[in-house]
Amino acid sequence: MEDYVQGGLLPATLPSSFRPMPPSSPDDVIPDHCSDAAAEPAVDVRDLVKEFSTTAGTLVAVNGVSMQVYPGEVYGLLGANGAGKTTTLRMMLGLQRPTSGTVRIAGFDVAVQPIEVKRRVSLVSSSSGLYQWLTPREIMLYLADLYGVPDGEAAARAEMLADLFDLRGFMDRRCAGMSTGQQQRVNLARSLMHDPPVVLMDEPTRGLDIVGSRRIFEYTAHLRQQGKAVIFCTHRLDEAQRLCCRFGLMFRGQLKLEGTLADLQQRTGREHLTDMFLDLMPAESSMAARLTVLQGRGDP
């Protein structure tokens, strides 16, 4: 477990501004507070719709989603595969054009000022890769340049993030020869090079082992501590329940439920997000319902 440093996955000897909350157990990363909702939302989504026209009619991938995420808040955007989570994130980032609705990031409308929006957002995705022939330092400086970070500051931030994510030993080695864990740390580090106020995380723990997943939890806690607005997009409801301040449950393109865990528990009478989500699904789609139908037909 070389990645563990003094009980946590991130090194302890860091500049104070980059120190994450020091968790000693997975439960410690559970947020003890949510941000001040009276502040201006860092992410403001209103009536977002994405339609794809088909010959049989219109396929609505995202249907009237509205949400606000505030600085220092980790918002869990949850749902099954194909629920519309990734499409929503892409529209927030300006990678896909909404059919209707608006997305404002730090006050900038993504449809009107996409470049301003992109300057303020970082994307962390399970599918993100690294340039195999470049070193972590080169990648970080390259991305810093794309985001307009001045050279001197970029170099200083690269050093600081190298300490934060324990990249010192391979900062100048090409990524092609690095382990999965090392590549993941580089990926997380590069996402902070331009110090974005908003971080979008798309299924960040997909395919990771327990060590990798824990690193993501710590990273998310660090972002929250830094006052960043985080949207954590996942279909793993258990991990979301441990990480996020508020939740939005998407089903077939719609945001069916939204609120803090306590709010949702009160409204649904369920303790766990998983049970709440299963309640959203139509009865006929459950395995138990299908088995009942089969039994009724006399099939084995």
């Binding site: 990678l95 110090d195 960043k228």
Partner: protein
């Protein structure tokens, strides 16, 4: 600037600086990749020396030993001694069993190709480019003239030297006249006869000179004529001359392929493309950075290949065979400039194709057909007799290979050199612009998601995915070539009706059947893919009116634009004239209307304004780019006729295509365009028959002088066109109102 929870930096940094850094990163990434380096360095360093060795050892010597022989026999009325004197020089070694090359002797005085040390090269006949035969002179016996002539007829003898009878009216003439007989039409026999005649003249002159010297008669009035071939560039064109630039072009292409795939499809496969798209940098800037890297690698490949090739040629001695002008600095610089421009063009084309692909493997699959398609014009330029013309200067790749060949020969005209460079640079810019539209677009980035969403709902696609579009476009030309070739074989040229019907069938096969099959395979709904949708019925009379008047508008626009030269060329173009005459003679008007108006109208509209437009629409947002690109392709397709390329047709068909495209854009359907297209073609086919009707209206139609059409015809066409536009606007407005 500070934002809660983070900071923002000024990304409006100097564009050039940003571009340099983008390009630097892409170059660094590409040049560190061992696979790129292997293509860049190892390939040329290994391929050329190996190729040189192989050619030197096998190919050339193989050709040399297989050089044709020609048998030379002597008339029995000539004594063998006289024959030996007359043909001295042909029989040095001699000869009945050891054939010698006369041409080798001519080398000094005339124009044979220089011999490569240590090699027997096939020698070319001066000026003709034919292989010179080796002569086998039979000086062991003489033969009767009848036997010689029979031998010539039967191919046993190639050249006969016979004595011509003295003229009866000049008994005092003591000189002999010999005839060199050969088989007319046989290049071996003709070339051998040239050599024998040359030697006879040389020896005769030498004999006269000796006699005059002996009797000490002479003076300025006596002139001995000798032939001397001057070293000219055109003289000794080797069939391998075009191989050099073709090889360079192919190697440059090969060098650019890997980085182009890696920086686009590879980036997507590795998962880094989405990060780039999420960065506050325009797609155009990102693509320009990638273009710089691919371009740099392509140029480096070109430089290394050019160097390796020249060194190999010099070392093996082939430079004297393939490059008559030798290897000069100016020539090398010109070739390098040509390759640089070509590298720019091909890099752009590669990027626009690889930007489609979702993975490295898919990009490779796309590029294999591209390379094969690219080979075709390159190989075409290897054909003897094809020279760079102004029209060919505009044909991509062909222009580069032909110009390269002429540069190596030192005969490239400056005007065509510049025209080729400009045209290629223009194509490069257009391809780069297209690539910028495709690279990282919604349709490409998330096409799989969209397809998946529709498939999960078991629905047919209502758009033409890029793979279907590209695949069809790549298959189109070969299919056209095959079908057009079959047409020529199935029906005799004089059977004009059959030719017409088969032309229509070829159109249907290429423009309807091919996309139809592709769409079926790709699960695309056919009515959507062909844009066979509903429209307001008023669009029908609008299309008819516009179709009947369109040719007048196109004609007048060309005249107004001062393109009467182009019109003249269209009228005078023999290929076009021949084609039209051939197809329209001896056929009924209904058949002509069916095959030359209805079939093109239906097939071309389904393809250009239906399938192609739909595919472009999926790739490039907006309506203008699909309109312009489909119109350009439509116009370019009409440049190809049976016999030749008729570039002169370009402006007229472009204008017609634009009109058809606007009709499709406004009505949202290809059907009104079909009517317009049919009426346009139909009126043009019926002009001759309409002439009497026009005369009754006081219109004397004469388009042969390329001047403005009669005012009355213009007025009628103007009214029809205006009415058509009004109806079209009305139809579009009503249809939009109906759709809410």
């Amino acid at each position: 600037m500070s934002t809660p929870g983070g900071r923002t930096f000024d990304t409006a940094a100097p564009t050039f600086r940003r571009l340099v850094r983008l390009a630097r990163k892409e170059c660094r990434e590409s040049l560190r990749d061992r696979r790129t380096l292997a293509t860049l360095l190892l390939m040329p360093l290994i391929v050329y020396p190996l190729l040189g060795m192989v050619v030197q050892r096998f190919a050339i010597s193989g050709v040399s030993t297989a050089a044709p022989e020609a048998n030379v026999v002597i008339d029995n009325r000539l004594s063998l001694d006289d024959a030996r004197v007359m043909l001295a020089g042909l029989d040095d070694a001699e000869k009945t069993t050891e054939p010698s090359s006369v041409a080798g002797e001519q080398t000094s005085g005339t124009s044979a190709m220089p011999a490569v040390p240590g090699l027997e090269l096939p020698l070319l006949n001066p000026g003709s480019g034919r292989v010179r035969p080796q002569l086998r002179v039979d000086l062991g016996a003489t033969y009767p003239v009848e036997l010689i002539e029979r031998g010539l007829r039967e191919g046993v003898v190639d050249v006969g030297v016979v004595l011509r009878a003295r003229a009866v009216d000049a008994p005092q003439d003591r000189t002999n006249t010999v005839e060199v007989l050969y088989r007319a039409g046989d290049p071996i026999s003709e070339a051998a006869a040239e050599d024998v005649a040359f030697r006879l003249r040389e020896n005769r002159d030498a004999a006269i000179r000796g006699l005059l010297n002996r009797v000490q008669i002479g003076g300025d009035a006596l002139v001995m004529v000798r032939q001397k071939g001057l070293q000219t560039a055109r003289r000794s064109e080797s069939p391998l001359a075009a191989f050099v630039p073709l090889m360079l072009v192919l190697m440059t292409m090969t060098g650019a392929v890997y980085p182009a795939i890696d920086l686009t499809a590879g980036e997507r496969e590795r998962g880094t493309l989405e990060l780039l798209m999420a960065a506050p940098v325009s797609r155009r800037q990102l693509l320009t950075g990638k273009f710089c890297a691919v371009f740099l690698v392509a140029v480096l490949t070109a430089v290394i290949n050019l160097t390796a090739m020249m060194v190999t040629l010099a070392a093996t001695g082939f430079d004297r065979v393939l490059l008559p002008q030798g290897i000069g600095v100016q020539m090398l610089l010109q070739v390098l400039l040509l390759l640089v421009v070509f590298a720019s063009f091909f890099s752009s084309v590669l990027l626009s194709i690889t930007s489609f692909a979702r993975s490295f493997r898919e990009a490779q699959a796309w590029l294999i057909p591209l390379m094969l398609v690219s080979l075709a014009p390159g190989i075409l330029s290897l054909m003897p007799g094809i020279r760079l013309t102004a029209a060919l200067s505009l044909v991509p790749l062909v222009n580069i290979v032909l110009l390269g060949r002429e540069l190596f020969q030192g005969i490239a005209p400056t005007g065509l050199f510049l025209l080729t460079l400009l045209a290629t640079a223009g194509y490069s810019a257009a391809a780069l612009r297209l690539a910028a539209g495709i690279f990282g677009s919604d349709a490409v980035l998330f096409a799989a998601d969209r397809r998946e969403q529709q498939r999960s709902a078991s629905q047919l696609l209502d758009f033409v995915p890029q793979r279907i579009l590209l695949g069809t476009l790549l298959a189109l030309l070969p299919l056209f070539a095959v079908l057009a070739g079959l047409r020529g074989r199935l029906v005799a040229p004089e059977n004009t009706s059959g030719q017409l019907l088969l032309s229509a069938a070829v159109l249907a096969g290429v423009f309807v059947l091919l996309p139809l099959v592709a769409m079926r395979l790709g699960r695309v709904r056919l009515t959507a893919g062909f844009q066979l949708t509903g429209f307001h019925p008023v669009a029908i009379p609008a299309a008819v009116l516009l179709g009947c008047s369109a040719w007048v508008a196109v004609y007048e626009l060309l005249v107004l634009a001062g393109s009467s030269g182009a019109l003249q060329k269209i009228m005078d173009n023999p290929a076009l004239r021949q084609m039209v005459d051939r197809l329209t003679s001896n056929t009924s008007l209904p058949l002509q209307l069916l095959c030359l108006a209805a079939a093109p109208a239906i097939c071309e509209e389904l393809f250009f304004r239906g399938f192609l437009w739909k595919g472009l629409e999926n790739l490039l947002p907006g309506k203008i780019r699909p309109l312009l690109i489909s119109t350009t392709v439509f116009a370019a397709a009409h440049v190809v006729t049976d016999a030749s390329l008729t570039v002169e047709r370009l402006p007229g068909t472009f204008l017609l295509g634009l009109l058809l495209g606007l009709m499709r854009m406004q009505t949202g359907s290809v059907i009104p365009g079909m009517l317009l297209h049919f009426c346009n073609n139909g009126v043009l086919l019926s002009l001759e028959r309409l002439a009497p009707v026009m005369r009754t209206l006081g219109i004397a139609l004469d388009v042969s002088h390329q001047q403005h059409l009669p005012a009355r015809l213009l007025a009628i066409a103007g009214v029809l066109a205006g009415l058509g536009v009004l109806l079209a606007v009305f139809a579009v407005g009503r249809e939009r109102a109906r759709q809410g």
